[in-house]
């Protein structure tokens, strides 16, 4: 399963380097992630155990939170990361929404220290998820006399907004899905249909009901055309009160925030899988074709009787040799009287011509059927 880590790997590495340094080091790093998140890490030799971490991140919902900064609920979530090590500096540094003072002397000298540093590195995820948690926590506090709430547009991934709409007894999260490639759309649509099938099973009765539709749901009518024009349809999850009880709240929020990334990751992995399968099949087919090739080794050209003689078995060799010897003996007996020039005359006019036989030709031999 894809693991979407909350902690920023670069930030974690820098904090660990500062914590594990043998001597106090001067650090002043600016770190940028995802194009819009900025970290400023500062540590000086004069305060060796203290590091200042400032964060600037776009909020989930620009309209609601921008004018008020971080909500008290968000600040409370951040403090809960570690009450001993982490202190919020107010006001925050210029250009940042939050500045933290990290006291590494308060870190325990065991594996806990790594866990705390990892949680500090996930402060950006904490800020964003706390905003969604605040919305989801009051699922049942909807007043029936009020009109339907307007959809709230949230942006976790750039250019991929999703909507949260409050309804009686539930909150609906709607994800407009967009893909660059038509084949991605079809793979994703197949995934959404499987998701709906799985959710409809009795075994998964406790998970948020899921629905996919190629057209925008009724609740989103009225939103801008740009936001509603998609090629992958709309996926919606109905979040009710038991999905946000206790520890489930954090898991539900994190799953919703990473739904886009999850789908994109699945589509990418599926494409890679298809590519590997095709390559394997290609290799198999080429192998089959190569077997039909006529190899050079299978063609045997035989020229003259001498070469053929080597291929004849040893028994027939012996018989021929013996016959040859006998023939010579007979000739010697017959031709005791020597006549000058007669041998030449005999060779030219009296020898029987040898007809073409299996011992003197060029034969093309192949393994399979020939034409």
């Amino acid at each position: 399963m894809a693991s979407f880590e909350r902690a920023s790997p670069a930030l974690k590495e820098i904090l660990l380097r500062i914590y594990n340094a043998e001597k106090p080091i001067e650090v002043d790093y600016h770190l940028y992630e995802f194009g819009s998140v900025e970290y400023h890490i500062k540590s000086s030799v004069s305060e060796p155990q203290v590091t200042y971490l400032s964060i600037s991140t776009p909020f989930l919902s620009q309209g609601v939170f921008l004018s008020y900064g971080l909500s008290p609920f968000t600040l409370k979530m951040v403090r809960q990361i570690s009450t001993d090590v982490l202190h919020i500096v107010e006001p925050a540094n210029d250009g940042y929404q939050l500045t933290l003072r990290l006291d590494f002397s308060k870190l325990p000298h065991n594996k806990e220290s790594l866990k705390i540093i990892t949680e500090v590195s996930s402060v950006q995820a904490v800020i964003l998820s706390s905003q969604l948690k605040e919305m989801l926590q009051n699922v049942n506090s909807w007043d029936s006399s009020q009109a339907m709430y307007k959809p709230i547009k949230l942006i976790y991934h750039p250019k991929e907004p999703f909507y949260v709409i409050r309804q009686p007894q539930k909150i609906v999260a709607v994800f407009p899905m967009r893909f660059k490639d038509n084949s991605d759309v079809i793979i994703a649509t197949s995934f959404f249909q499987e998701l709906m099938d799985v959710v409809s099973l009795k075994k998964w009765a406790k998970v948020p009901p899921c629905n996919w539709s190629p057209i925008p749901p009724l609740e989103l009518r009225g939103e801008s055309f740009e936001d509603l024009s998609t090629n992958g349809g709309f996926v919606s999850f109905d979040i009710s009160s038991h999905h946000v009880e206790g520890k489930r709240l954090d898991k539900t929020v994190w799953s919703l925030l990473n739904f886009y990334a999850y789908v994109k990751h699945h589509v990418k992995c599926t494409r890679g899988f298809i590519q590997r399968r095709m390559r394997r099949r290609l290799d198999n087919l080429v192998e089959v074709l190569e077997k039909s090739r006529v190899e050079d080794g299978q063609i045997k050209k035989v020229q003259g009787w001498r070469k053929m003689r080597k291929m004849v078995g040893s028994k027939s060799k012996m018989i021929k040799r013996r016959w040859g010897d006998l023939g010579k003996k007979i000739k010697r007996i017959r031709f005791r009287i020597k006549i000058h020039g007669f041998a030449r005359f005999r060779r030219r006019w009296l020898t029987v011509p040898s007809f073409s036989s299996s011992t003197a030709y060029t034969k093309l031999q192949t393994n399979g059927n020939n034409n």
């Binding site: 399963m1 038509n182 084949s183 079809i186 793979i187 649509t189 197949s190 995934f191 249909q193 499987e194 998701l195 099938d197 799985v198 959710v199 998964w204 406790k206 998970v207 948020p208 999905h243 489930r248 898991k251 539900t252 994190w254 799953s255 999850y262 699945h266 992995c269 599926t270 899988f273 298809i274 590519q275 399968r277 095709m278 099949r281 290609l282 198999n284 087919l285 080429v286 089959v288 074709l289 077997k291 039909s292 090739r293 006529v294 192949t366 399979g368 059927n369």
Partner: protein, 131 residues
């Protein structure tokens, strides 16, 4: 292949259809043969899988020698077998290869479709476990 200049060298083409979506066209001449196949594509997923796979093979046509880079219009993939190929390759095995190729295409597309659906289901299950 004698097409434009010598039409008298072309023999009658043969079209074998299983149905409207699956057919095989065999065009022959005195020294070569062109076999074009249209593969079954029941839905959108099979459509993109067939397109991807056959395009993948066509782009690597040099590995097959007898495969054309561009299929005949109206078909998904085409073979061109010339007299030179018949000298380098054993005829019977070449025929076996073409038949196996056709069977493997259908089999591969069906298996890919099933694998994509199975993967989707597994991934959906893992996603829902988080709630």
């Amino acid at each position: 292949m004698p097409f434009m200049t010598s039409p008298e060298l072309l023999l009658n083409p043969v079209l074998i259809c299983r149905n409207e979506a699956e057919k095989c066209l065999i065009e022959t001449s005195i020294n070569s043969l062109r076999i074009s196949l249209k593969v079954k594509q029941a839905d959108e997923l099979e459509n993109i899988l067939a397109k991807k796979f056959l395009r993948f093979l066509s782009m690597r046509a040099e590995a097959f020698q007898v495969l054309r880079r561009k299929p005949v219009q109206g078909y998904d993939i085409s073979f061109l077998i010339t007299n030179y190929h018949c000298e380098e390759l054993q005829k019977q095995k070449l025929i076996d290869f073409i038949v196996q190729f056709m069977e493997d295409i259908d089999k591969e597309i069906s298996e890919l479709k099933m694998s994509v659906s199975t993967r989707g289901r597994l991934v959906a299950t893992e996603f829902l476990k988080q709630f």
